[in-house]
Amino acid sequence: MADKQLTEQDIVAGLAEIVEEVAGVAQDEVTKEKSFVDDLDIDSLSMVEIAVQAEDKFGVKIPDDELANLKTVGDAVAYVANNS
Protein backbone atom coordinates (compact mmCIF):
# COMPACT_ATOMS: atom_id res chain seq x y z
CA MET A 1 0.00 0.00 0.00
CA ALA A 2 0.96 3.60 -0.48
CA ASP A 3 3.32 5.21 1.92
CA LYS A 4 1.75 8.58 2.86
CA GLN A 5 5.22 10.04 3.29
CA LEU A 6 6.12 9.59 -0.39
CA THR A 7 7.99 12.59 -1.70
CA GLU A 8 7.99 13.69 -5.31
CA GLN A 9 11.56 12.42 -5.49
CA ASP A 10 10.45 8.98 -4.26
CA ILE A 11 7.78 8.82 -6.95
CA VAL A 12 10.17 9.82 -9.74
CA ALA A 13 12.67 7.21 -8.54
CA GLY A 14 9.95 4.54 -8.31
CA LEU A 15 8.67 5.32 -11.80
CA ALA A 16 12.23 5.30 -13.15
CA GLU A 17 12.73 1.77 -11.80
CA ILE A 18 9.54 0.60 -13.51
CA VAL A 19 10.37 2.31 -16.80
CA GLU A 20 13.82 0.74 -16.82
CA GLU A 21 12.42 -2.70 -16.05
CA VAL A 22 9.71 -2.53 -18.73
CA ALA A 23 11.31 -0.47 -21.49
CA GLY A 24 15.03 -0.55 -20.80
CA VAL A 25 15.35 3.22 -20.42
CA ALA A 26 18.19 4.21 -18.09
CA GLN A 27 16.82 5.46 -14.76
CA ASP A 28 18.56 8.84 -14.95
CA GLU A 29 16.78 9.50 -18.26
CA VAL A 30 13.42 9.38 -16.50
CA THR A 31 12.91 13.00 -15.41
CA LYS A 32 9.73 15.03 -14.96
CA GLU A 33 9.81 17.00 -18.20
CA LYS A 34 10.19 13.91 -20.42
CA SER A 35 7.36 12.66 -22.60
CA PHE A 36 6.89 8.88 -22.37
CA VAL A 37 6.19 8.53 -26.10
CA ASP A 38 8.26 11.28 -27.70
CA ASP A 39 11.32 11.37 -25.43
CA LEU A 40 11.53 7.89 -23.89
CA ASP A 41 10.25 6.00 -26.96
CA ILE A 42 7.71 3.99 -24.97
CA ASP A 43 4.85 2.46 -26.96
CA SER A 44 1.22 2.10 -25.89
CA LEU A 45 1.70 -1.57 -24.96
CA SER A 46 4.56 -0.79 -22.61
CA MET A 47 2.55 2.10 -21.12
CA VAL A 48 -0.09 -0.44 -20.04
CA GLU A 49 2.60 -2.50 -18.29
CA ILE A 50 4.06 0.58 -16.64
CA ALA A 51 0.63 1.63 -15.38
CA VAL A 52 -0.07 -1.80 -13.86
CA GLN A 53 3.30 -1.83 -12.09
CA ALA A 54 2.80 1.77 -10.89
CA GLU A 55 -0.60 0.82 -9.47
CA ASP A 56 1.02 -1.97 -7.46
CA LYS A 57 3.98 0.09 -6.34
CA PHE A 58 2.13 3.23 -5.29
CA GLY A 59 -1.26 1.77 -4.34
CA VAL A 60 -3.18 3.90 -6.84
CA LYS A 61 -5.79 3.13 -9.49
CA ILE A 62 -5.04 4.40 -13.00
CA PRO A 63 -8.16 4.01 -15.15
CA ASP A 64 -7.62 3.89 -18.92
CA ASP A 65 -9.06 7.38 -19.46
CA GLU A 66 -6.62 8.78 -16.90
CA LEU A 67 -3.70 6.86 -18.39
CA ALA A 68 -4.31 8.59 -21.71
CA ASN A 69 -3.67 11.95 -20.00
CA LEU A 70 -0.32 10.98 -18.52
CA LYS A 71 1.88 12.34 -21.30
CA THR A 72 4.97 13.17 -19.30
CA VAL A 73 6.76 11.67 -16.32
CA GLY A 74 5.69 14.81 -14.43
CA ASP A 75 2.01 14.10 -15.25
CA ALA A 76 2.40 10.62 -13.78
CA VAL A 77 4.20 11.92 -10.69
CA ALA A 78 1.41 14.45 -10.05
CA TYR A 79 -1.28 11.82 -10.58
CA VAL A 80 0.36 9.42 -8.12
CA ALA A 81 0.92 12.23 -5.56
CA ASN A 82 -2.72 13.30 -5.75
CA ASN A 83 -4.27 9.83 -5.72
CA SER A 84 -2.18 7.69 -3.38
Binding site: V22, G24, V48, V52
Partner: protein
Amino acid sequence: MSNADVVVTGLGATTPLGGDVESTWDGLLAGRSGVARLDEDWVERFDLPVKIAARLAVEPSEVLPRVEARRLDRSEQVAMIAARQAWQDAGFGDGNADDVDPERLGVVVGTGIGGATTLLNMDDLLETSGLRKVSPLTVPMLMPNGPAAYVGLELKARAGVHAPVSACASGAEAIAMAWRMLRTGEADVVVAGGAEACIAAITMAGFAQSRTMSTRNDDPVAASRPWDVERDGFVLGEGAGIVVLERAEYAKARGARIYASLAGIGTSADSYHITAPDPEGTGQARAMAAALRTGDIDPARVGHVNAHATSTPVGDVTETVAVRKAIGEHPVLTAPKSALGHLLGAAGAVESVSTVLSLYHGLIPPTQNLNEIDPGVSHDIVTGEPRKVDLDVAINDSFGFGGHNVSLAFAAV
Protein backbone atom coordinates in the same frame (compact mmCIF):
# COMPACT_ATOMS: atom_id res chain seq x y z
CA MET B 1 23.79 -19.32 -63.42
CA SER B 2 21.40 -16.85 -64.98
CA ASN B 3 20.49 -13.48 -63.55
CA ALA B 4 16.99 -14.71 -62.73
CA ASP B 5 18.39 -17.42 -60.45
CA VAL B 6 17.96 -17.31 -56.70
CA VAL B 7 21.11 -17.54 -54.62
CA VAL B 8 21.93 -18.06 -50.95
CA THR B 9 24.19 -15.37 -49.51
CA GLY B 10 23.68 -15.50 -45.75
CA LEU B 11 23.14 -18.17 -43.10
CA GLY B 12 22.03 -17.98 -39.47
CA ALA B 13 21.04 -20.53 -36.85
CA THR B 14 20.69 -21.23 -33.17
CA THR B 15 20.16 -24.90 -32.40
CA PRO B 16 20.62 -27.64 -29.80
CA LEU B 17 24.16 -28.08 -31.14
CA GLY B 18 25.28 -24.46 -30.91
CA GLY B 19 24.31 -20.82 -30.79
CA ASP B 20 25.39 -20.11 -34.36
CA VAL B 21 25.94 -21.71 -37.77
CA GLU B 22 29.60 -22.55 -37.20
CA SER B 23 29.07 -24.41 -33.91
CA THR B 24 26.01 -26.19 -35.31
CA TRP B 25 27.87 -27.31 -38.43
CA ASP B 26 30.90 -28.39 -36.36
CA GLY B 27 28.56 -30.37 -34.10
CA LEU B 28 26.96 -32.10 -37.07
CA LEU B 29 30.35 -33.02 -38.54
CA ALA B 30 31.70 -34.19 -35.19
CA GLY B 31 28.67 -36.39 -34.51
CA ARG B 32 27.63 -34.54 -31.37
CA SER B 33 24.09 -34.86 -30.02
CA GLY B 34 21.86 -32.06 -28.75
CA VAL B 35 19.52 -34.45 -26.95
CA ALA B 36 19.47 -34.65 -23.15
CA ARG B 37 17.26 -35.51 -20.21
CA LEU B 38 14.80 -32.73 -19.29
CA ASP B 39 15.09 -31.50 -15.72
CA GLU B 40 11.77 -29.59 -15.55
CA ASP B 41 9.57 -30.60 -12.61
CA TRP B 42 6.57 -31.33 -14.84
CA VAL B 43 8.29 -34.31 -16.41
CA GLU B 44 7.93 -36.28 -13.18
CA ARG B 45 4.79 -34.49 -11.95
CA PHE B 46 2.79 -35.76 -14.94
CA ASP B 47 4.87 -38.93 -15.23
CA LEU B 48 5.42 -38.18 -18.90
CA PRO B 49 6.51 -41.21 -20.90
CA VAL B 50 8.97 -38.95 -22.77
CA LYS B 51 11.60 -37.35 -20.52
CA ILE B 52 14.10 -36.15 -23.15
CA ALA B 53 14.36 -33.27 -25.62
CA ALA B 54 16.88 -31.22 -27.57
CA ARG B 55 17.07 -27.86 -25.78
CA LEU B 56 18.94 -24.90 -27.28
CA ALA B 57 22.70 -24.99 -26.65
CA VAL B 58 22.73 -21.24 -25.90
CA GLU B 59 19.88 -19.59 -23.99
CA PRO B 60 18.41 -16.77 -26.13
CA SER B 61 18.15 -14.50 -23.08
CA GLU B 62 21.97 -14.63 -22.80
CA VAL B 63 22.29 -13.24 -26.31
CA LEU B 64 19.47 -10.68 -26.53
CA PRO B 65 19.22 -7.37 -24.65
CA ARG B 66 17.09 -7.88 -21.50
CA VAL B 67 14.15 -5.73 -22.56
CA GLU B 68 13.98 -7.29 -26.01
CA ALA B 69 13.99 -10.78 -24.47
CA ARG B 70 11.07 -9.95 -22.15
CA ARG B 71 8.97 -8.58 -25.01
CA LEU B 72 9.41 -11.65 -27.24
CA ASP B 73 8.15 -15.21 -27.08
CA ARG B 74 10.98 -17.74 -27.17
CA SER B 75 10.10 -18.62 -30.79
CA GLU B 76 10.50 -14.94 -31.68
CA GLN B 77 13.75 -14.69 -29.73
CA VAL B 78 15.40 -17.46 -31.73
CA ALA B 79 14.10 -16.04 -35.02
CA MET B 80 15.66 -12.66 -34.23
CA ILE B 81 18.99 -14.21 -33.24
CA ALA B 82 19.23 -16.33 -36.41
CA ALA B 83 18.01 -13.50 -38.65
CA ARG B 84 20.64 -11.07 -37.34
CA GLN B 85 23.36 -13.65 -37.91
CA ALA B 86 22.19 -14.34 -41.46
CA TRP B 87 21.83 -10.64 -42.28
CA GLN B 88 25.34 -9.95 -41.07
CA ASP B 89 26.71 -13.06 -42.80
CA ALA B 90 25.27 -11.76 -46.08
CA GLY B 91 27.28 -8.58 -45.65
CA PHE B 92 24.34 -6.33 -44.81
CA GLY B 93 23.54 -4.47 -41.65
CA ASP B 94 26.54 -2.20 -41.33
CA GLY B 95 24.34 0.78 -42.11
CA ASN B 96 26.08 1.74 -45.34
CA ALA B 97 24.65 2.31 -48.80
CA ASP B 98 24.78 -1.42 -49.47
CA ASP B 99 21.62 -1.98 -47.43
CA VAL B 100 18.57 -3.02 -49.42
CA ASP B 101 15.72 -0.76 -50.53
CA PRO B 102 13.02 -1.71 -47.96
CA GLU B 103 10.37 -1.97 -50.67
CA ARG B 104 12.49 -4.63 -52.40
CA LEU B 105 13.11 -6.61 -49.20
CA GLY B 106 10.84 -9.44 -48.04
CA VAL B 107 10.69 -11.70 -44.99
CA VAL B 108 9.17 -15.18 -44.79
CA VAL B 109 9.55 -16.97 -41.46
CA GLY B 110 7.39 -19.95 -40.55
CA THR B 111 6.68 -21.75 -37.32
CA GLY B 112 4.81 -24.93 -36.57
CA ILE B 113 3.38 -24.11 -33.16
CA GLY B 114 4.15 -20.41 -32.54
CA GLY B 115 3.95 -18.86 -29.09
CA ALA B 116 2.44 -21.80 -27.22
CA THR B 117 4.50 -21.25 -24.08
CA THR B 118 3.32 -17.62 -23.91
CA LEU B 119 -0.29 -18.77 -24.23
CA LEU B 120 0.22 -21.24 -21.36
CA ASN B 121 2.05 -18.76 -19.12
CA MET B 122 -0.52 -16.02 -19.65
CA ASP B 123 -3.41 -18.40 -19.03
CA ASP B 124 -1.73 -19.39 -15.75
CA LEU B 125 -1.35 -15.71 -14.82
CA LEU B 126 -4.98 -14.98 -15.65
CA GLU B 127 -6.10 -17.88 -13.44
CA THR B 128 -3.81 -17.13 -10.51
CA SER B 129 -3.48 -13.34 -10.54
CA GLY B 130 -6.31 -11.98 -12.66
CA LEU B 131 -6.61 -9.76 -15.72
CA ARG B 132 -4.21 -7.05 -14.58
CA LYS B 133 -1.23 -9.41 -14.73
CA VAL B 134 -1.83 -10.50 -18.33
CA SER B 135 0.78 -8.82 -20.50
CA PRO B 136 -0.43 -6.36 -23.16
CA LEU B 137 2.14 -8.13 -25.37
CA THR B 138 0.35 -11.50 -25.05
CA VAL B 139 -1.10 -11.50 -28.57
CA PRO B 140 2.03 -10.36 -30.45
CA MET B 141 3.95 -12.98 -28.45
CA LEU B 142 1.67 -15.90 -29.20
CA MET B 143 0.67 -15.19 -32.81
CA PRO B 144 2.38 -17.57 -35.25
CA ASN B 145 3.28 -14.69 -37.58
CA GLY B 146 5.18 -13.09 -34.67
CA PRO B 147 8.65 -14.37 -35.62
CA ALA B 148 8.19 -13.15 -39.21
CA ALA B 149 6.71 -9.83 -38.13
CA TYR B 150 9.51 -9.03 -35.67
CA VAL B 151 12.21 -9.90 -38.21
CA GLY B 152 10.41 -7.76 -40.78
CA LEU B 153 10.19 -4.88 -38.32
CA GLU B 154 13.88 -5.15 -37.47
CA LEU B 155 14.98 -5.12 -41.13
CA LYS B 156 12.24 -2.69 -42.25
CA ALA B 157 11.16 -5.19 -44.91
CA ARG B 158 8.29 -3.74 -46.92
CA ALA B 159 7.99 -5.98 -49.98
CA GLY B 160 5.93 -8.42 -47.91
CA VAL B 161 6.23 -10.28 -44.61
CA HIS B 162 4.75 -13.77 -44.56
CA ALA B 163 4.47 -16.67 -42.14
CA PRO B 164 3.60 -20.05 -43.63
CA VAL B 165 2.31 -22.54 -41.08
CA SER B 166 2.59 -26.16 -42.18
CA ALA B 167 3.81 -28.00 -39.08
CA CYS B 168 7.24 -29.56 -39.65
CA ALA B 169 7.40 -28.24 -43.22
CA SER B 170 6.97 -24.57 -42.19
CA GLY B 171 10.65 -23.58 -42.35
CA ALA B 172 11.14 -25.19 -45.77
CA GLU B 173 7.86 -23.77 -47.04
CA ALA B 174 9.07 -20.31 -46.02
CA ILE B 175 12.17 -20.77 -48.18
CA ALA B 176 10.01 -22.03 -51.06
CA MET B 177 7.76 -18.99 -50.71
CA ALA B 178 10.79 -16.70 -50.72
CA TRP B 179 11.98 -18.34 -53.95
CA ARG B 180 8.61 -17.54 -55.52
CA MET B 181 8.79 -13.90 -54.38
CA LEU B 182 12.21 -13.57 -55.97
CA ARG B 183 11.33 -15.40 -59.17
CA THR B 184 8.19 -13.33 -59.71
CA GLY B 185 10.16 -10.14 -59.14
CA GLU B 186 8.32 -9.08 -55.97
CA ALA B 187 11.62 -8.60 -54.17
CA ASP B 188 15.39 -8.48 -54.68
CA VAL B 189 16.25 -9.95 -51.28
CA VAL B 190 14.18 -12.20 -49.00
CA VAL B 191 15.14 -13.29 -45.49
CA ALA B 192 13.54 -16.70 -44.95
CA GLY B 193 13.45 -19.60 -42.54
CA GLY B 194 11.75 -21.05 -39.52
CA ALA B 195 11.63 -20.78 -35.75
CA GLU B 196 10.32 -23.08 -33.04
CA ALA B 197 10.46 -23.16 -29.26
CA CYS B 198 7.53 -25.07 -27.80
CA ILE B 199 9.04 -27.54 -25.35
CA ALA B 200 6.38 -27.59 -22.63
CA ALA B 201 4.42 -30.14 -20.64
CA ILE B 202 1.38 -30.01 -22.92
CA THR B 203 3.30 -30.33 -26.22
CA MET B 204 5.38 -33.17 -24.82
CA ALA B 205 2.23 -34.82 -23.50
CA GLY B 206 0.34 -34.35 -26.76
CA PHE B 207 3.09 -35.75 -28.95
CA ALA B 208 3.62 -38.58 -26.48
CA GLN B 209 -0.08 -39.42 -26.60
CA SER B 210 0.10 -39.59 -30.39
CA ARG B 211 2.85 -42.22 -29.90
CA THR B 212 5.21 -40.43 -32.26
CA MET B 213 8.08 -39.72 -29.82
CA SER B 214 11.01 -41.79 -28.67
CA THR B 215 10.81 -43.03 -25.09
CA ARG B 216 14.49 -44.00 -24.93
CA ASN B 217 14.81 -41.92 -21.75
CA ASP B 218 17.74 -43.84 -20.31
CA ASP B 219 19.95 -43.14 -23.34
CA PRO B 220 19.06 -39.66 -24.70
CA VAL B 221 21.89 -39.34 -27.24
CA ALA B 222 20.85 -42.63 -28.84
CA ALA B 223 17.13 -41.77 -28.96
CA SER B 224 17.01 -40.12 -32.39
CA ARG B 225 18.07 -42.90 -34.78
CA PRO B 226 16.60 -42.44 -38.27
CA TRP B 227 16.48 -45.61 -40.41
CA ASP B 228 17.80 -47.80 -37.57
CA VAL B 229 15.75 -50.94 -36.93
CA GLU B 230 15.36 -49.94 -33.28
CA ARG B 231 14.05 -46.40 -33.87
CA ASP B 232 10.98 -45.63 -31.79
CA GLY B 233 10.02 -42.04 -32.58
CA PHE B 234 11.34 -38.50 -32.86
CA VAL B 235 12.89 -36.25 -30.21
CA LEU B 236 11.42 -32.75 -29.82
CA GLY B 237 13.91 -29.91 -30.32
CA GLU B 238 13.92 -26.12 -30.48
CA GLY B 239 15.78 -23.51 -32.49
CA ALA B 240 15.78 -21.38 -35.62
CA GLY B 241 17.39 -21.29 -39.03
CA ILE B 242 17.40 -18.33 -41.41
CA VAL B 243 18.82 -17.89 -44.90
CA VAL B 244 19.26 -14.74 -46.97
CA LEU B 245 18.12 -15.33 -50.54
CA GLU B 246 18.69 -12.89 -53.38
CA ARG B 247 18.16 -12.57 -57.08
CA ALA B 248 21.53 -13.61 -58.54
CA GLU B 249 21.79 -10.37 -60.49
CA TYR B 250 21.41 -8.36 -57.29
CA ALA B 251 23.91 -10.45 -55.34
CA LYS B 252 26.49 -10.27 -58.12
CA ALA B 253 26.09 -6.53 -58.52
CA ARG B 254 26.91 -5.96 -54.85
CA GLY B 255 29.74 -8.50 -54.88
CA ALA B 256 28.15 -10.81 -52.31
CA ARG B 257 29.63 -14.18 -51.40
CA ILE B 258 27.36 -16.84 -52.89
CA TYR B 259 27.09 -20.16 -51.02
CA ALA B 260 24.83 -21.93 -53.52
CA SER B 261 21.80 -21.35 -55.67
CA LEU B 262 18.27 -22.38 -54.74
CA ALA B 263 17.66 -23.84 -58.16
CA GLY B 264 14.18 -25.26 -57.71
CA ILE B 265 11.42 -25.80 -55.19
CA GLY B 266 8.59 -28.31 -55.00
CA THR B 267 5.54 -28.43 -52.79
CA SER B 268 2.70 -30.92 -52.67
CA ALA B 269 0.04 -32.27 -50.32
CA ASP B 270 -0.78 -35.89 -49.48
CA SER B 271 -4.38 -35.28 -48.39
CA TYR B 272 -4.23 -38.87 -47.19
CA HIS B 273 -4.19 -38.80 -43.35
CA ILE B 274 -3.81 -35.99 -40.81
CA THR B 275 -0.51 -37.32 -39.40
CA ALA B 276 0.62 -40.41 -41.33
CA PRO B 277 2.37 -40.01 -44.69
CA ASP B 278 0.96 -41.74 -47.72
CA PRO B 279 2.88 -45.05 -47.40
CA GLU B 280 3.55 -45.12 -51.15
CA GLY B 281 5.41 -41.81 -50.80
CA THR B 282 3.51 -40.46 -53.79
CA GLY B 283 3.02 -36.95 -52.43
CA GLN B 284 6.60 -36.70 -51.22
CA ALA B 285 7.87 -37.91 -54.60
CA ARG B 286 5.75 -35.28 -56.35
CA ALA B 287 7.36 -32.56 -54.22
CA MET B 288 10.86 -33.80 -55.10
CA ALA B 289 9.96 -34.13 -58.79
CA ALA B 290 8.57 -30.59 -58.75
CA ALA B 291 11.81 -29.28 -57.24
CA LEU B 292 13.72 -30.89 -60.11
CA ARG B 293 11.26 -29.63 -62.70
CA THR B 294 11.21 -26.01 -61.49
CA GLY B 295 15.01 -26.09 -61.34
CA ASP B 296 15.34 -27.79 -64.74
CA ILE B 297 17.50 -30.42 -63.05
CA ASP B 298 18.22 -33.87 -64.43
CA PRO B 299 17.79 -36.42 -61.57
CA ALA B 300 21.28 -37.77 -62.30
CA ARG B 301 22.76 -34.49 -61.00
CA VAL B 302 21.34 -34.97 -57.50
CA GLY B 303 24.17 -36.38 -55.41
CA HIS B 304 22.70 -35.91 -51.97
CA VAL B 305 19.39 -35.78 -50.10
CA ASN B 306 19.36 -34.12 -46.69
CA ALA B 307 16.40 -36.18 -45.52
CA HIS B 308 13.43 -35.31 -43.36
CA ALA B 309 13.90 -38.70 -41.59
CA THR B 310 12.63 -38.04 -38.07
CA SER B 311 13.27 -41.49 -36.53
CA THR B 312 9.62 -42.58 -36.60
CA PRO B 313 8.94 -46.19 -37.61
CA VAL B 314 6.65 -45.23 -40.54
CA GLY B 315 8.04 -42.02 -42.00
CA ASP B 316 11.71 -42.83 -42.49
CA VAL B 317 11.22 -45.68 -44.94
CA THR B 318 8.43 -43.91 -46.83
CA GLU B 319 10.78 -41.07 -47.65
CA THR B 320 13.37 -43.39 -49.18
CA VAL B 321 10.63 -44.94 -51.32
CA ALA B 322 9.80 -41.43 -52.53
CA VAL B 323 13.47 -40.60 -53.22
CA ARG B 324 13.75 -43.78 -55.30
CA LYS B 325 10.64 -42.82 -57.28
CA ALA B 326 11.49 -39.19 -57.94
CA ILE B 327 15.29 -39.21 -58.13
CA GLY B 328 16.62 -42.75 -58.00
CA GLU B 329 18.91 -44.99 -56.02
CA HIS B 330 22.07 -42.88 -56.44
CA PRO B 331 21.73 -39.95 -53.96
CA VAL B 332 23.66 -40.29 -50.71
CA LEU B 333 21.41 -39.64 -47.71
CA THR B 334 21.90 -38.19 -44.26
CA ALA B 335 19.51 -37.40 -41.38
CA PRO B 336 20.53 -34.35 -39.31
CA LYS B 337 17.67 -34.99 -36.86
CA SER B 338 19.82 -37.79 -35.41
CA ALA B 339 21.90 -34.97 -33.86
CA LEU B 340 19.52 -32.00 -33.64
CA GLY B 341 16.29 -33.71 -32.72
CA HIS B 342 13.19 -32.50 -34.54
CA LEU B 343 12.95 -28.70 -34.64
CA LEU B 344 9.42 -28.85 -36.14
CA GLY B 345 8.80 -25.53 -37.93
CA ALA B 346 12.51 -24.68 -37.80
CA ALA B 347 13.70 -28.08 -39.04
CA GLY B 348 13.50 -27.39 -42.77
CA ALA B 349 15.34 -24.11 -42.37
CA VAL B 350 18.16 -25.39 -40.15
CA GLU B 351 18.54 -28.42 -42.40
CA SER B 352 18.63 -26.15 -45.45
CA VAL B 353 21.59 -24.40 -43.82
CA SER B 354 23.21 -27.82 -43.44
CA THR B 355 22.41 -28.74 -47.07
CA VAL B 356 23.88 -25.48 -48.36
CA LEU B 357 27.06 -26.04 -46.32
CA SER B 358 27.34 -29.59 -47.69
CA LEU B 359 27.39 -28.13 -51.20
CA TYR B 360 29.74 -25.31 -50.24
CA HIS B 361 32.27 -27.46 -48.36
CA GLY B 362 31.78 -30.76 -50.21
CA LEU B 363 31.06 -32.55 -46.93
CA ILE B 364 28.05 -34.54 -45.77
CA PRO B 365 27.64 -34.87 -41.98
CA PRO B 366 27.02 -38.39 -40.65
CA THR B 367 23.73 -39.88 -39.47
CA GLN B 368 24.14 -40.91 -35.85
CA ASN B 369 22.91 -44.03 -34.07
CA LEU B 370 22.44 -45.99 -37.28
CA ASN B 371 23.67 -49.38 -36.11
CA GLU B 372 21.45 -51.67 -38.13
CA ILE B 373 19.72 -50.23 -41.16
CA ASP B 374 16.04 -50.95 -41.77
CA PRO B 375 15.79 -53.65 -44.45
CA GLY B 376 13.34 -51.45 -46.36
CA VAL B 377 16.10 -48.90 -47.03
CA SER B 378 18.53 -49.42 -49.91
CA HIS B 379 20.20 -46.00 -50.25
CA ASP B 380 23.77 -45.25 -49.27
CA ILE B 381 23.63 -43.41 -45.93
CA VAL B 382 26.55 -41.50 -44.43
CA THR B 383 27.48 -42.81 -40.98
CA GLY B 384 30.55 -42.51 -38.77
CA GLU B 385 32.80 -39.85 -40.33
CA PRO B 386 31.63 -36.99 -42.57
CA ARG B 387 31.76 -37.95 -46.25
CA LYS B 388 33.82 -35.88 -48.70
CA VAL B 389 31.88 -35.50 -51.93
CA ASP B 390 31.87 -33.22 -54.93
CA LEU B 391 28.21 -32.21 -55.11
CA ASP B 392 26.37 -30.58 -57.99
CA VAL B 393 22.80 -30.64 -56.62
CA ALA B 394 21.54 -31.47 -53.11
CA ILE B 395 17.91 -31.75 -52.04
CA ASN B 396 16.43 -30.92 -48.65
CA ASP B 397 13.14 -32.60 -47.79
CA SER B 398 10.60 -31.50 -45.18
CA PHE B 399 7.22 -33.04 -44.48
CA GLY B 400 4.64 -31.92 -41.95
CA PHE B 401 1.63 -33.19 -40.02
CA GLY B 402 -1.28 -32.37 -42.30
CA GLY B 403 0.39 -33.96 -45.31
CA HIS B 404 2.48 -30.94 -46.36
CA ASN B 405 5.53 -31.85 -48.47
CA VAL B 406 8.32 -29.47 -49.44
CA SER B 407 11.53 -30.21 -51.36
CA LEU B 408 14.23 -27.62 -51.97
CA ALA B 409 16.88 -28.21 -54.66
CA PHE B 410 20.12 -26.36 -53.94
CA ALA B 411 22.90 -26.31 -56.55
CA ALA B 412 26.61 -25.56 -56.39
CA VAL B 413 27.69 -22.32 -58.09
